[in-house]
């Protein structure tokens, strides 16, 4: 089983059409990986499916980097 960081990075790479090696823990979806607003919505949808959770809009808005996505998943899965 891959760890959460790897799973998040994989989804980010798939959704944004970038090489997985380019996806760093500190990468910003918009500034570093070239995502537009619709990409970020799709990314959140993909995270919801991968981790079988629901990410409320107000939380989703705060997820702008790979680290923040990992943090959200960790916090959610620990509950």
């Amino acid at each position: 089983m891959e760890n959460i960081e790897q799973r998040v990075k994989k989804i980010v790479a798939e959704q944004l059409g970038v090489n997985e090696a380019e996806v760093k823990i500190e990468s910003s979806f918009v500034d570093d990986l070239g995502a537009d607003s619709l990409d970020t919505v799709e990314l959140v949808m993909a995270l919801e499916e991968e981790f079988e959770c629901e990410i409320p809009d107000e939380e989703a808005e705060k997820i702008t980097t790979v680290q923040q996505a990992i943090d959200f998943v960790n916090a959610h899965l620990n509950k």
Partner: protein
């Protein structure tokens, strides 16, 4: 059979324009789910579409949560919806001075809010598939106005604005969003009009006759197909030359 294997949802498909659209899409090979507000209506749709594998389902677009639940059920049973035709609509005609709040609200809920709800609910599947067709049934009245239909015309014009904005939002995902604006079509809805008014309306139609539901269905079938891949955000007026915007 250009729509072979695609799942299509047509709201308000028990009669009139909706029924013709459901049949046209089914004839092109789509797996059509047509909705009606009653069990009997849904059963009738199922019978009509049975030969092409289509089904009828009950949907009251004004009922909270009903659209989302239906789209969820369809996705589980048949797969994600690739083609959505927002056709369900009602009229509550009356002069503005006498129009009740309920008449306004009923039209907005059934004719406009339902378009928002259904379009939003199908979007996830279409975005993942990188293919989608949404065709909203507007009306000539939304573009030219009609005394006694301030509510209906406002909702239909609202659909056109919604369509343009949504088309801009999701175009990058190969999803097209268009309107078909029927003119004066021979259906139950227009048969309810007084004879004198019908005659007066026909005089304004360049082709000199009422439209047939099939005329609208053909336009929807075109917009749903790959032949219309480069058309989005448009309103296709099918009105026999009643209005040339």
């Amino acid at each position: 059979m250009s729509l072979q294997g695609k799942v299509a949802l047509v709201t308000g498909a028990s009669r009139g324009i909706g029924a013709a659209i459901a049949e046209a899409l089914a004839a092109e090979g789509a797996k059509v789910i047509g909705t009606a507000t009653s069990e009997a209506g849904a059963a009738a749709i199922g019978e009509r579409l049975a030969a092409q594998g289509g089904v009828g389902m009950v949907l009251n677009v004004g009922e909270e949560g009903a659209i989302e639940a239906l789209i969820d059920t369809i996705a589980k049973e048949y797969g994600d919806i690739a083609i959505l035709v927002n056709n369900a609509g009602i009229t509550r005609d009356g002069l503005l001075m006498r129009m009740k709040d309920e008449d306004w609200d009923a039209i907005m809920d059934t004719n406009l809010r339902s378009v928002f709800k259904a379009s939003k609910a199908v979007l996830r599947g279409m975005m993942k598939a990188r293919w989608g067709r949404i065709v909203n049934i507007a009306s000539v009245v939304g573009a030219m106005g009609n005394a006694g239909q301030t509510n209906y015309a406002a909702a239909k014009a609202g659909i056109m604005g919604f369509t343009k904005s949504m088309a801009r939002e999701v175009g990058s995902r190969n999803i097209t969003v268009n309107c078909v604006a029927p003119g004066f079509i021979d259906t139950d809805m227009t048969r309810a009009l007084p004879e004198a008014q019908r005659e007066m309306l026909v005089q304004q139609i360049a082709l000199g006759r009422l439209g047939d539901a099939k005329d609208i269905a053909d336009a929807v079938g075109f917009l749903a197909s790959d032949r219309a891949a480069y058309i989005t955000g448009q309103t296709l007026h099918v009105n026999g030359g009643m209005l040339m915007p």
